[in-house]
């Protein structure tokens, strides 16, 4: 059936096509597919489905190269979320997703709806969400606009997750001018399900009914997917109406109703209506099931009258789902939704005819052949070429940068680093998140290198963490990509888990720029190498491109969300030192590497040098050493060395738990050949600081795995402070200095201007 334009539809002109973000070639492709000029509704549908956000047109060829297999992977990329088996008939569904652009213009709703979207991705698989994580990147806290963004994003994440009753247990937060105009807000959700309750978003069963479930459809968020697929500009604030509005209470009802619906067996498929709303959810379901679908927009429950098919199809109203109900069970589906005061309406049907058809009553307003709407999407293989400027930065000899006069006292430098917001305690943020609801949180925010949740009914635990140092990726994307995965694996190993699988959120700039596409290609290659070496397949994720503001692109930031498994959750190991007199062992080896460090960035304002090398064989051996030592019950604490290097890591072991400060005395003389600032603050990879009452046993395990390890000192009572013997000197840091630097930095910065008050003038990006 050939669709007819609706009265009042604008005429299709090159200008209208351009406004929909389609290139000339893409438009020709569309006309070619249809064999005619598209209707306005069809143009809208294609503009959403072929947007970068929905189509992955620049990234798909490279994403296909990521390793995705392991015997325990039940669902890899291509579904609402990835799923792995954890034994005992249980499985874990998890995924990370970005909400960067909405959060840049409307931080509260942007972040809140990001949380809502990722929750739906997980519970549509039949999993009950048990944990949220978030990975945030902001500009400097010196900027009032950044403080406004931080306050809004954190409140948005908190209000949504808290209302849902899903604990927010971990994450990572970094601050760097590179994110000033374009913050990154990545949310990860983890859910648990019985393997036999896994459900997919695959339309099937000719004659089965397609039902819209949950909230009504309004005019909010129209073209959100396209908005997410362009650079941010000074005009972006005008696109605030494209940001959706979240309602966590409705989402909570939807969560309970959906899980009940899936358990009832009345539905064969469930799909979140996320980006590009009804359009994308219905087209993707049809494509996965290789069936036709027909949708009648008049049957979609709407919030306001007079909505056109174009608007109904492209609305991104939140808290909605599409389900495929077994024919004849529609009333039973309705009854379950009614119990939760929600509605479910039949809006279409699975059909044998291979078409994607949208009608308005009896009138066809859009029709595409078969599943080509999804499969015929253009794919690009852009040019990749590294930026000469970045090569020059990487090659800079950072060891030649002279130390500041104050640095003669290394304790001064350490204290300054402890108050860098990237390093400092994030308690100001996470005390706004309920981290203990559901009573499974064994290690919560700030307690360990990763969060640990117990799994009821088993002895097992899950370890969860997000990680990515974008500065490393910026200066060397291949190495930075490797480190992002390796650090996440190290973090879950530090709490006692075996790294299992990852989800990733690939935040990059404009892929049509060769230097950006080079970063993308190389970072993915580095990630792949690390995933293979560490045995952690990619089960899904999200690509967020065009993260650029007038000031330029963000650091390339392929955020890794790692899931690890503890066989015995009672072994979960914190990061803080515990018992005085415990031996302190450094696993791994310091180097003279100083490039790309937080030390250079925070103390010297320099972003340069090569990031530290990442030897994946050693990383794997370190993971094995940590895992074996912890499972043998040998470690009282474990903490990896990352931003700020060894000195910051050991200081964190002393003061991270403000209720139980511990001193330490360590001797770094064995490495006196190394320059002291590289030894103290360099970020050599593959290292962890552990404490134990049985040093011999830990050293023996390290030796077995081929990991250099050395007993460097002893845990002390808090009044003895932190003493590091380096280059023949004793560097002494009172714990109160370290603790106050670490714990007060962010609260102090956030107090500087009541963020809400200055928000009005900030739309322009003014710095106050």
């Amino acid at each position: 059936m050939t669709p007819t334009p609706r009265p009042g539809d604008p005429t299709i002109t090159p200008a209208l096509v351009a406004e929909h973000g389609l290139t000339r070639d893409e438009y020709d492709r569309l006309v070619n597919m249809l064999g005619r000029t598209p209707t306005f509704t069809e143009l809208g549908i294609v503009s959403a489905l072929w947007s970068e956000h929905c189509s992955y047109k620049h990234s798909r060829p490279l994403l296909k190269k990521l390793p995705t297999n392991a015997p325990y992977v039940l669902q890899g990329p291509g579904e609402n979320a990835g799923v792995i088996s954890i034994g005992d008939g249980l499985a874990v569904a998890f995924k990370i997703e970005s909400h960067n652009h909405p959060s840049a213009v409307e931080p509260y709703q942007g972040a809140a709806t990001g949380v809502g979207g990722i929750l739906r991705d997980v519970f549509t698989m039949g999993a009950r969400p048990i944990a949220m994580l978030n990975s945030l990147r902001f500009g400097s806290l010196d900027s009032a606009r950044v403080r406004y963004l931080v306050a809004g994003v954190v409140r948005g994440i908190g209000d949504y997750g808290n209302c849902m009753g899903v604990p927010t247990v971990a994450g990572d937060v970094m601050f760097d001018a590179a994110y000033e105009g374009n913050p990154l807000v990545n949310a990860m959700c983890v859910g648990i399900l019985r393997e036999d309750e896994l459900i997919r978003a695959k339309a099937q069963g000719i004659g089965n009914k397609i039902m819209a479930v949950g909230a009504r459809t309004g005019r909010d968020g129209i073209h959100g997917a396209s908005f997410a697929s362009e650079d941010l500009s000074h005009n972006s604030d005008a696109k605030r109406p494209r940001v959706q509005v979240g309602d966590p209470f409705t989402e909570k009802l939807l969560l309970e109703a959906t899980l009940e619906l899936i358990a009832s067996g009345h539905v064969v498929a469930v799909q979140d209506m996320g980006a590009a709303g009804l359009t994308s959810s219905s087209a993707e379901m049809a494509e996965r099931g290789d069936v036709g679908v027909t949708i009648d927009t008049l049957k979609v429950p709407v919030r306001e009258s007079g909505m056109t098919p174009y608007e109904i199809l492209l609305s991104e109203s939140q808290e909605r789902m599409l389900v495929v109900a077994i024919k004849g069970r529609e009333e039973k589906v309705r009854a379950i939704l009614a119990k939760w005061d929600l509605t479910a309406e039949v809006i279409g049907e699975v059909i044998a005819e291979p078409v994607y058809r949208v009608t308005e009553g009896k009138k066809v307003v859009a029709e595409f052949p078969g599943t080509r709407l999804v499969t015929d999407c253009p794919q690009y293989h852009p040019e990749a070429k590294e930026s000469e400027a970045i090569i020059a930065l990487r090659n800079r000899d950072v060891n030649a940068i002279p130390a500041l006069p104050q640095e003669r006292n290394s304790a001064w430098t350490l204290c300054r680093l402890m108050e860098s917001p990237t390093i400092a305690s994030k308690r100001w943020l996470y005390r706004q998140y309920d981290s203990t609801v559901r009573t499974n949180t064994v290690i919560g925010p700030g307690g360990g290198d990763a969060a640990v949740l117990r799994i009821r009914g088993t002895t097992k635990g899950l370890a969860l963490k997000t990680d990515c140092n974008g500065r490393y990726v910026y200066l060397d994307p291949r190495v930075g990509g490797r480190i992002a995965v390796a650090e996440a694996a190290r973090n879950v190993a530090c709490v006692g888990a075996r790294p299992m699988a990852i989800t990733n959120c690939l935040n990059f700039g404009n892929p049509t720029r060769p230097d950006i596409f080079f970063q993308f290609r190389e970072a993915l290659a580095g990630m792949s190498e690390a995933c293979v070496a560490l045995g952690t397949p990619v089960t899904g994720g999200n690509v967020s491109l065009y993260n650029e503001s007038p000031a330029g692109a963000v650091y390339p930031t392929p955020t890794i969300g790692m899931v690890g498994l503890l066989d015995d959750v009672s072994r979960a190991t914190p990061m803080s030192f515990r018992a005085p007199d415990d031996a302190i062992i450094l696993l791994g080896e310091p180097t003279d590497e100083l490039g790309a460090s937080e030390y250079l960035a925070w103390i010297h304002g320099v972003v340069a040098g090569a990031p530290p090398a990442c030897d994946l064989t050693k990383e794997r051996a370190l993971v094995e050493t940590l895992h074996e030592s912890i499972n043998a019950g040998l470690l009282h604490s474990a903490h990896d060395c990352s931003e700020g290097g060894f000195a910051v890591a050991i200081a964190e072991c002393c003061v991270a738990n403000p209720l139980a400060l511990r001193g330490a005395m360590v001797d770094l003389s064995p490495w006196k050949a190394l320059a002291s600032r590289a030894l103290l603050f360099g970020e050599a990879q593959g290292r962890a600081i552990v404490s134990t009452s049985d040093a011999e046993a830990v050293l023996a395990i390290a030796k077995k795995h081929g990991i250099p390890a050395r007993n460097i000192g002893t845990v002390k009572p808090h009044n003895e402070g932190l003493v590091i013997i380096v280059s023949g000197h004793s560097m002494r840091s009172p714990l109160l200095d370290l603790s106050s630097a670490y714990h007060d930095a962010i609260p102090r910065a956030m107090q500087r201007a009541p963020a809400e008050q200055v928000s009005a003038e900030l739309a322009t990006g003014a710095t106050v």
């Binding site: 209000d159 808290n162 309602d247 909570k252 981290s435 609801v437 009573t439």
Partner: protein, 229 residues
């Protein structure tokens, strides 16, 4: 003892309460749907935490109109034990089962461990604890600042209805130890008849040492004593 846990549409701590009663205490618990009128013969009613109806208006303001709440009120009037935790405390206040009100925290939402001091042991929820005993358990709320008129506060004090106060590590009430600005550091109270109890902290999240504290257990054990009395 049979514990009935009321499930409002936006409750989210009902499973935690259930686990505390069934797995830690070894007692029977049933979920009570807010649209029902049947308490299923429960000895003790728990109004659990969460966001009963989204709570966009005021925490607990709508929940008190739920069908089950008339049964809960009757149960309380007959001397039955009702325990409101967090949002359940807010609902109990809105429903008039407890005096006072819970306002927005002076500092915004707070999720953290707090220490509370048991002020009186002569209620169904504190009888196994000692007066002056300090218990550590999490809070997680945005509207937990207990407020009442000075007269009412004096009355609560003189009737020994203030059951828990926020204290520091040494057991003293201080400004810093008060996480939400509650008047007179009040964390929990009971009604004049001493059978309806409400508190903002989450004892059901502190019943297992692996989660950092099992200090809440003594409160649930008190219920057991009362129910078998």
């Amino acid at each position: 003892m049979k514990v009935g846990i009321v499930r409002f549409p936006g409750s989210n701590c009902e499973d935690d309460a259930f686990h505390a009663v069934v797995y830690q205490l070894g007692e029977e618990a049933v979920m009570l749907w807010h649209k029902d009128h049947d308490l299923q013969g429960s000895d003790v009613i728990i109004l659990p935490g969460g966001f009963s109806y989204g709570d966009y208006l005021r925490a607990g303001a709508i929940a008190r109109f739920s069908p089950i709440m008339s049964e809960v009120a009757a149960h309380a009037k007959n001397g039955g034990i009702v325990l409101g935790i967090c949002n359940g405390f807010q609902i109990a206040c809105e429903a008039g089962l407890l005096p006072g009100a819970l306002l927005h925290n002076d500092v915004g939402y707070r999720s953290m461990p707090v220490t509370i001091r048991v002020e009186h042991a002569n209620t169904a929820f504190t009888s196994a604890a000692k007066v002056g005993q300090c218990l550590t358990m999490p809070i997680a709320h945005g509207e937990g600042r207990f407020a009442a008129s000075e007269d009412l506060l004096d009355e609560l004090e003189s009737n020994a209805q203030v059951l828990f106060r926020y204290v520091d590590a040494s057991g003293e009430t201080t400004v810093d130890a008060n996480p939400n600005g509650a008047m007179r550091s009040i964390a929990g109270i009971c009604n004049a008849a001493r059978n309806v109890i409400g508190l903002m902290p989450h004892p059901e999240r502190a019943v297992d040492p692996i989660l950092g504290s099992d200090d809440g257990l003594v409160l649930f054990e008190s219920l057991l004593v009362a129910a078998h009395a």
